[in-house]
């Protein structure tokens, strides 16, 4: 069983389009995250939700809007895509309050903006 899944795995689109990436976890965790990995492989937190509540928002443009319909899902919607948005986006989840709260990562979504 896949613990953290993302769809799609690959996304190619034109500048100016709006796209969404979906994430689901079946681990029963209460916290989910979005990380961005740029072309130089640098990974940085974008957002975090705990029980559907936004708790981390790291200087991300307003064009990025996370949505958490329930604690097992955290979707990422991106408006007016730009070339610089091309990256791999990782979803992760953890259960806060359990020791070091290991974060489990999804397989990533490679977004290419043309």
């Amino acid at each position: 069983d896949t613990a953290v899944s993302q769809t799609p795995k690959y996304l190619v689109t034109q500048m100016g389009n709006d796209k969404s990436i979906k994430c689901e976890q079946n681990l029963g965790h209460d916290t989910m995250y979005w990380y961005k990995q740029d072309s130089k492989k640098f990974l940085k937190i974008m957002f975090s939700y705990n029980n559907k509540e936004l708790i981390i928002n790291e200087t991300v443009p307003n064009r990025f809007s996370p949505k958490s319909p329930d604690k097992a899902h955290l979707n990422l919607h991106i408006n007016s895509l730009e070339l610089g948005d091309s990256a791999v986006y990782f979803c992760a989840s953890s259960q806060v309050g359990q020791g070091y709260n290991e974060q489990f990562f999804g397989p990533g979504t490679r977004l290419t903006v043309l």
Binding site: Y33, K41, F42, L43, N50, F90, Q103, R110
Partner: protein
């Protein structure tokens, strides 16, 4: 703000040999967690090993061990008996204890294992 530095962008090692990956970090906190993640070409992020800052004993996981020097803010990863499957990007990461749950990553290091 915490920062994590991996100063070596690439390293190579011969199969069956030992290699050490370096990582330094900066924080004013006294309690925190440190991690090494592996990212093979499949791009899946895999937790290799973790260290709680309050523990003096260095963590070990099979062929992987760390050298945690809290005063020096250093957290190196030693891979013994390197295998071809160890070839990957390795990321050092920091997380506060009891605060923000975000992982702060270093820039990563590409490890090549030569047969």
């Amino acid at each position: 703000a915490q920062t994590v530095t991996q100063s070596q962008p690439e390293m190579s090692v011969q199969e069956a040999e030992t290699v050490t990956l370096s990582c330094t970090y900066d924080t004013s906190e006294s309690d925190y967690y440190l991690f090494w993640y592996k990212q093979p070409p499949s791009r899946q992020m895999i937790l290799v090993i973790r260290q709680e800052a309050y523990k003096q004993q260095n963590a070990t996981e099979n062929r992987f061990s760390v050298n945690f020097q809290k005063a020096a803010k250093s957290f190196s990863l030693k891979i013994s008996d390197s295998q071809l499957g160890d070839a990957a990007m390795y990321f050092c990461a920091f997380k506060e204890w009891g605060g923000s749950e975000k992982l702060v990553f270093g820039k990563g290091m590409k490890l090549t294992v030569n047969p």
